[in-house]
């Protein structure tokens, strides 16, 4: 029984945090590659772009299930408020992901309809990304709730801010995707990825900057978190480090570095994630519920923690290893036919 008296909320916060971040990162870059795919010229370039994510994209998507189930298991009340509040973005995201996954498979088998499935893959990726950005934006803004249920309407989540974050995420994932492509391809195609990467970087950089101004202006709680003395003393490194990473990203995209653009993009996402976390902690439903209020029972958290702490590291190690063996440039001659 002693296990039941432990507070598992921090552990589950970390587990869910990792799962969601890994999803954003991993599916983020392959959704980004999917978006950029729509701009690739010529069949060979398109095939190379596709092949760069062929081995890993659907493994990446599995983190979405773990993220959703982690939220349900760790913080059921948050799950029961957030998911209904973003009913349509979630619907659109799921349909786009299903459609995109199907397009990925069929693109190679249905030669007559190659163009159709190519488009389906690109648009599916973009629509799923936009929907996730809307989820993010409306999450930051918070939802109408009575503390137990979502009490607003299913279209409330579409606000100027959430549309803005939706568009911003297109460029964010585009930047991740460009970073991945720079790592995986060579020559002209790599130059092309650098050019698109720069565009995405400028747009997402401006968007992150705008959000960083917008949210404290719109939300006194977030403003207090960042600007009430002595918080700026502790939190100042966040914008400073972010700016340094942004500078590094620009240099990397402009130069010949192959790993740095992707690495810097990951760090930029990590810093943004951290920034959102700092703004909202300890709320899991902004303005409504803390992590502790939304948590499942200690018995539930303990029972699931046992298996998760055993299985999750193995999954992480294996995922890491599979990326390791797939390192190196993707070639045109091997691949789908």
């Amino acid at each position: 029984m002693s296990a039941l008296t432990l507070d598992f909320v921090p552990l589950w916060t970390i587990i869910c945090g990792i799962a969601v971040f890994l999803y954003v990162l991993l599916d983020g870059f392959d959704l980004g590659v999917g978006i950029l795919h729509g701009f690739a010229k010529g069949r060979e370039a398109r095939n190379l772009v596709m092949n760069s994510i062929a081995p890993i994209w659907d493994g990446n998507e599995t983190w979405l299930i773990l993220g959703a189930l982690g939220l349900l298991a760790g913080f059921p009340l948050a799950f029961a408020i957030i998911i209904p509040a973003v009913y349509f973005p979630i619907l659109v995201m799921l349909l786009a992901l299903v459609f995109r996954g199907t397009a990925f498979e069929f693109r190679y088998r249905d030669a007559e309809h190659r163009t159709f499935w190519d488009h389906a893959f690109c648009y599916g990726s973009a629509v799923a990304t936009f929907a996730q950005g809307v989820v993010l934006g409306s999450f930051i803004q918070g939802f109408k709730t009575d503390g137990q249920h979502f009490t607003g309407g299913s279209f409330d989540c579409f606000t100027p801010f959430s549309i803005f974050t939706g568009i911003a995420l297109l460029f964010g994932y585009g930047l991740l995707g460009a970073g991945w492509l720079i790592l995986k391809v060579e020559g002209e195609l790599q130059d092309w990825a650098r050019r698109l990467g720069k565009i995405c970087f400028l747009c997402v950089g401006a968007a992150v900057f705008a959000v960083s101004i917008w949210t404290p202006l719109a939300d006194p709680g977030i403003a207090a978190r960042w600007f009430n003395w002595p918080n700026p003393l502790f939190l100042a490194p966040v914008p400073i480090v972010s700016a340094a990473i942004a500078w590094w990203e620009w240099k990397a995209l402009s130069g010949r570095a192959e790993l740095a653009p992707f690495a810097a993009a990951i760090l930029l996402f990590a810093m943004s994630y951290l920034g959102v976390g700092i703004s909202l902690f300890p709320m899991v439903v902004p303005h409504a519920l803390t992590l502790w209020q939304a948590a499942s029972s200690p018995s539930t958290q303990a029972f699931l923690a046992v298996g998760t702490l055993f299985l999750l590291p193995i999954i992480l190690m294996y995922t890491g290893w599979s990326y390791w063996v797939f390192r190196g440039k993707v070639r045109a001659d091997i691949g789908y036919h």
Partner: protein, 468 residues
């Protein structure tokens, strides 16, 4: 008014997405075990035919498993988007079971599926066999957790109610709730039978055309032997499951039998049009006493009738009544197909009787129909509850949803699934048309819906890079 009821539309939506999803595990759970058996037979006997068959079915497995994952992503979100009150009320009990399913499925996918799909030439034969077995075991683990969750909703146990939420008291009681063992064995056997009839159907298709004779005869014969065991076993398990339902969900059993009055020596109603309003049956065709005999194993046994329960606690009788009869009817058709195989074997005409091969080819999808019918029986029979007797379906739905919201989402799911599923089936049909011989030559890629695992990156398999 009815058409824009968010509860009804949410139920239709759940039916739509899970009915399509369930077809894939119904196929892949059995297929994974079949592949493991083929690999085992090849390991022991070294006969090439088993290898060709294993390669052939692994290609089909990869596509159906991939479709299963894609359609599976939709499922946990349904609990949030449309059934948020169910989620909030039951998550403390059910969510770990669902999460364990996710973790284990992910683990299995990461660790063993890649070796099975792409590792034949890269790992020792025994390691490949272990990978095949582990994939099979993994699909069974998935079934275990999902069916445990479903069974808990049917026969909740090991919980206490606190502020309208279910709190866990005893995890063993929760996982091994009263209907779980019966549901697990009945469902998994149903999945095996489903796969077996597909295998028999494909084999019959080849035999009728005189193609891939050795492979076709091998799988035709071995699978019919398997069905010889499984179909009678399934009828026995179904009967045991029925006794369990009589004990724990008497209103469901009464609905399945359209039995309105409690009584002993009750007849078996073969056909009727149940009338929910008038609480009676029209045009009933009945066999005296047989109802008590089947349902209680005693001609004088008492069967509780629907009138014993409040009207608002009754499921829509007509649906489980007919879906159950469809399931049982299909079960007896299966039994007939199996029995005919014994006769033909005795006459040494198993591969020669053309009418029988045609029959086998055309009953290939029979298991899917039976699974769907059985699933409708048990889920609609559970109504009007999501947690039986404790939480009403109408109290489970997301309160913020309007009928229009759900109508839009339902139409979206219908559209996308109607594109995805036929195309997927077409792809599998093409593999069948190409046949098992091409699977063995190694030049063709495994057509996978799964992540390509590390082994594929190695030079030996570069020519197989193609799939995913």
């Amino acid at each position: 008014m009815m058409t824009l009821d968010p509860v009804l539309l949410s139920r239709l939506q759940f039916f739509w997405v899970i009915a399509w999803h369930i077809l894939l595990p119904a196929f892949t759970v059995g297929l994974a075990s079949f592949i493991a058996v083929l690999e085992g037979l090849h390991f022991v006997t070294r006969r090439e035919v088993y290898l060709r068959l294993s390669g052939f079915w692994t290609r089909i497995f990869a596509i159906s498993f991939g479709m299963g994952v894609v359609s599976g992503i939709v499922m946990p979100f349904q609990l949030g988007t449309n059934w948020s009150r169910f989620s909030a009320a039951t998550a403390d009990v059910t969510s770990p079971l669902l999460a364990y399913e996710g973790l284990m499925a992910f683990f299995l996918e990461a660790a063993f599926l890649g070796v099975l799909l792409f590792g034949r030439k890269l790992v020792p034969a025994w390691a490949h066999l272990i990978a095949a077995v582990m994939v099979g075991v993994g699909t069974l683990f998935s079934s275990f957790w999902i069916l445990s969750t479903n069974s808990w909703m049917q026969t909740p146990a090991g919980y206490r109610l606190e502020n309208g939420r279910f709190e866990p008291v005893n995890w063993i009681d929760i996982i091994f709730n009263p209907s779980f063992p019966y549901r697990l064995f009945h469902t998994v056997t149903g999945f095996y039978v489903t796969t077996a009839f597909v295998v028999v159907g494909v084999a019959a298709y080849y035999l009728r055309r005189g193609r891939f004779i050795e492979e076709a005869r091998t799988m035709f014969s071995m699978t019919l032997w398997l069905l010889t065991v499984l179909v009678p076993l399934q009828i026995f398990l179904g009967d045991a499951h029925g006794l369990n339902t009589r004990e724990y969900q008497p209103a469901k059993l009464a609905a399945i039998e359209a039995r309105w009055e409690t009584g002993s020596r009750v007849p078996l109603t073969l056909f009727a049009i149940p009338d929910q309003e008038a609480q009676t049956n029209h045009y009933a065709i009945e066999v005296p006493v047989l109802g008590s005999l089947i349902l209680t194993h005693d001609p004088n046994g008492t069967v509780r009738g629907l009138k014993e329960f409040p009207k608002e606690d009754l499921p829509p009788v007509i649906i489980p009544f007919f879906s159950f009869r469809v399931m049982v009817g299909l079960g007896f058709i299966m039994l007939a197909v199996v029995a005919l195989s014994w006769l033909l074997r005795a006459q040494h005409r198993l591969f020669a009787a053309r009418w029988y091969l045609a029959l086998c080819q055309h009953v290939a999808p029979i298991g899917f129909l039976a699974v769907i019918a059985g699933w409708i029986t048990t889920e609609v029979g559970r109504q009007p509850w999501t947690v039986y007797g404790l939480l009403r379906t109408s109290d489970s739905v997301t309160p913020s949803l309007t009928g229009t919201d759900v109508l839009i989402s339902l139409l979206g799911y219908i559209l996308v699934y109607l594109i995805m599923y036929p195309t997927g089936v077409l792809m599998m049909a093409r593999i069948v048309a190409r046949g098992p011989a091409s699977a063995a030559d190694g030049a063709e890629p495994i057509e996978s819906g799964r992540p390509q695992l590390p082994v594929r990156a190695l030079p030996r398999t570069s020519d197989k890079e193609a799939s995913a």
